[in-house]
């Protein structure tokens, strides 16, 4: 990177030395522990590798098998996209909306409410309580409620019915997703210059919605971008809630996602080459979606 212009290398170093030195510790750790493993994984995606024998180069075979012959993978892609299209935008709006609303509360109440909303994220595997809610007998909270209201007569086998699996996963994910972006938005709201609100009031900003649109949102552009990237990676990376709640494999693959497919080949079948190909496809899907979203956000911003 630094050697791009060989003639001026000395000048570049002289001018920017301190910046490179500030970045040095990170670059070393990043290259060794993030960049190299990612590149190795991409290379492995062109091999057949069972963790015991040396990887064998197989060209594009993993990719061809995945896209042309693996019908379960196509179900996984479909499920993942459906899941992401719903949970991504909704949880983004939810995170921002909640952060923005509690920003108005008095400081002490605000601190308590932040904890309340963040509770699902901080309590580890707490999403397992959804298993109680959607328990398949008449004592499960959802079944008990519906039966008491007389809407259903027999308890519903929630996790055994392919029509219910995806909606349940979406609800649980939304409930769980008030996390990183939410905290970043709260911190971002603290960064908005208070005097702008004051000036806004004098300039005739009539209500909170106008204030949000003309002052708050433009001031929070970097955090909004950060939140978008987080939502994309999180909403496309669903796996553990699916495996833990609806089981693996799920009924008719209704809860099967790209990452549960990866989990299948990487952790159960030890076909690492194939697993790496899945990871690489997901990687490029995320980059592609990210580019589109960034363009969209920029358009909205201008």
């Amino acid at each position: 990177m630094k050697k791009k212009k060989k003639t001026t290398f000395r000048e570049v170093w002289k001018k920017h030395r301190q910046k490179y030195i500030l970045m040095l510790p990170f670059i070393v750790l990043f290259v060794v522990f993030t960049l190299v493993p990612v590149l190795v994984s991409i290379v492995l995606s062109f091999t057949s590798f069972n963790l015991i024998e040396m990887p064998k180069f197989v060209g594009l075979r993993n990719y061809i098998n995945l896209l042309a012959f693996d019908s379960v993978f196509l179900i996984a892609v479909k499920n993942t996209l459906l899941f992401a299209i719903v949970t991504g935008p909704v949880s983004y709006l939810l995170c921002f909306g909640l952060a923005w609303l509690i920003n108005e509360l008095p400081p002490k109440v605000r601190a308590v409410m932040t904890l309340v909303f963040y509770a699902p994220s901080i309590s580890g595997g707490a999403y397992m309580i959804w298993k109680l809610i959607f328990s398949s007998d008449s004592y499960g909270y959802a079944n008990a409620l519906l039966m008491n209201l007389g809407i259903i007569q027999e308890p519903i086998l929630w996790f055994a019915n392919k029509d219910y699996i995806m909606p349940i996963l979406i609800v649980v994910q939304l409930w769980l997703s008030i996390g990183v972006s939410f905290l970043a938005f709260i911190a971002g709201l603290q960064n908005v210059d208070r005097s702008l609100y004051e000036a806004g009031q004098m300039d005739g900003v009539k209500n909170r919605w106008q204030e949000l649109w003309y002052i708050t949102l433009p001031q929070m552009k970097p955090q909004l971008m950060f939140g978008a990237v987080m939502q994309i990676t999180q909403s496309l990376s669903v796996s553990s809630i699916s495996i833990d709640l609806v089981g693996f494999p799920s009924v008719d693959y209704a809860g099967h996602t790209i990452l549960t497919h990866l989990h299948d080949y990487g952790n159960l079948r030890y076909e690492m080459g194939y697993a790496c190909a899945i990871a690489t496809i997901l990687f490029f899907m995320m980059i592609f979606i990210n580019i589109i979203i960034q363009k969209l956000l920029r358009k909205v911003a201008s």
Binding site: K19, L29, T34, L101, P107, F117, I122, Y139, N191, D193
Partner: protein
């Protein structure tokens, strides 16, 4: 020099002013909305707290009840017996956790912020490539990189040391990316003024960038603490003496149905520390209004 410090200090002062453009009806409506969402969110917290104080008869009560009727401390006594029976003394586990969490979180914040500052505020050869590499590497799933990572660790003789847990996180891009998006907002004028006063980039970083991006790094501390606290060491730490508390406690949970009570106590203990750290840190995020009065 004086000018810069005065500006920073002015920014630190809390800004008090009442907003008049709010309608009461909408306030009430929004508070009701917040309350409803809050009720759904608070559930796991209530569940974990109640379960820890339930006697065995209530834990296995069917259908399950959320609230405890006859609270007891038995679960905690059971747990303390289990802990005292363990081969490695509890203090050792605790030390491991504290070391991992403090060094790991400190490293993530410091190393990430140091790299984030030049990337956020300057254009120089390599900066653009680096910025996009950072974003994109957030998107590669960790499941498959675990294997190359393990091989690298063993080549570097880092397996079964604390560093095997700490370094990959510090070398991850999440912290940098978060910091970068906040440091971008530090006013350029301030950096220019500091430069005119003869401050080095290092000085600017420690005296201007870090104080002004306090909400960001406190948020990063919360997130990083949480992940290190829950880290069990996995395959990277195999010696019992290096295992953290979360590993020891997860062993209790895996101990079978007879330990359900102790496991409920474990869940509460595992939760209390991050919650306390969260509340302390979060109140600090909310109290700083770092850049107010500096922009525009």
């Amino acid at each position: 020099m004086k000018k810069v410090f005065l500006a920073v200090r002015k920014g630190w002062r809390k800004f008090k002013f009442k907003r008049k453009n709010r309608s009461l009806a909408m306030d009430i409506l929004l508070i009701i909305l917040l309350g409803c969402i809050g009720l759904v969110s608070i559930w796991p917290l209530l569940y974990i707290i109640n379960a820890a104080f339930k006697p065995m008869s209530e834990i296995f009560l069917f259908p399950p009840k959320l609230f405890v009727r006859n609270p007891t401390l038995n679960n905690f006594f059971d747990l303390s017996v289990l802990i005292s029976e363990s081969n490695v003394i509890f203090g050792r586990y605790l030390f491991n956790t504290i070391f991992l969490t403090v060094v790991g979180t400190g490293g993530t914040v410091l190393v990430g912020s140091m790299a984030a500052f030049p990337l956020a505020k300057y254009r120089f050869p390599g900066s653009k490539v680096m910025s996009s590499t950072v974003v994109y590497s957030l998107m590669f799933n960790g499941t498959v990189t675990a294997i190359p990572n393990y091989i690298i660790m063993s080549r570097l003789n880092l397996i079964n040391t604390y560093w095997a847990v700490i370094l990959p996180v510090v070398g991850g891009t999440f912290g940098l990316y978060l910091m970068q998006n906040f440091i971008v907002q530090v006013p350029d004028d301030l950096i220019e003024a500091a430069k005119i006063d003869g401050m080095s980039e290092y000085g600017i970083f420690f005296k201007i960038i870090m104080p002004l991006s306090r909400p960001a790094w406190i948020t990063l501390i919360i997130l990083s603490f949480q992940s290190f606290w829950g880290n069990t060491g996995g395959t990277f730490l195999y010696s019992e003496k290096l295992k953290p508390v979360s590993y020891m406690l997860s062993q209790v949970i895996n101990g079978g149905i007879a330990r359900t009570g102790a496991a409920a106590a474990v869940s509460l203990i595992m939760l209390v520390v991050p919650v306390v750290v969260f509340v302390i840190s979060q109140s600090n995020v909310l109290e700083t209004m770092a850049t107010s009065g500096l922009k525009g």
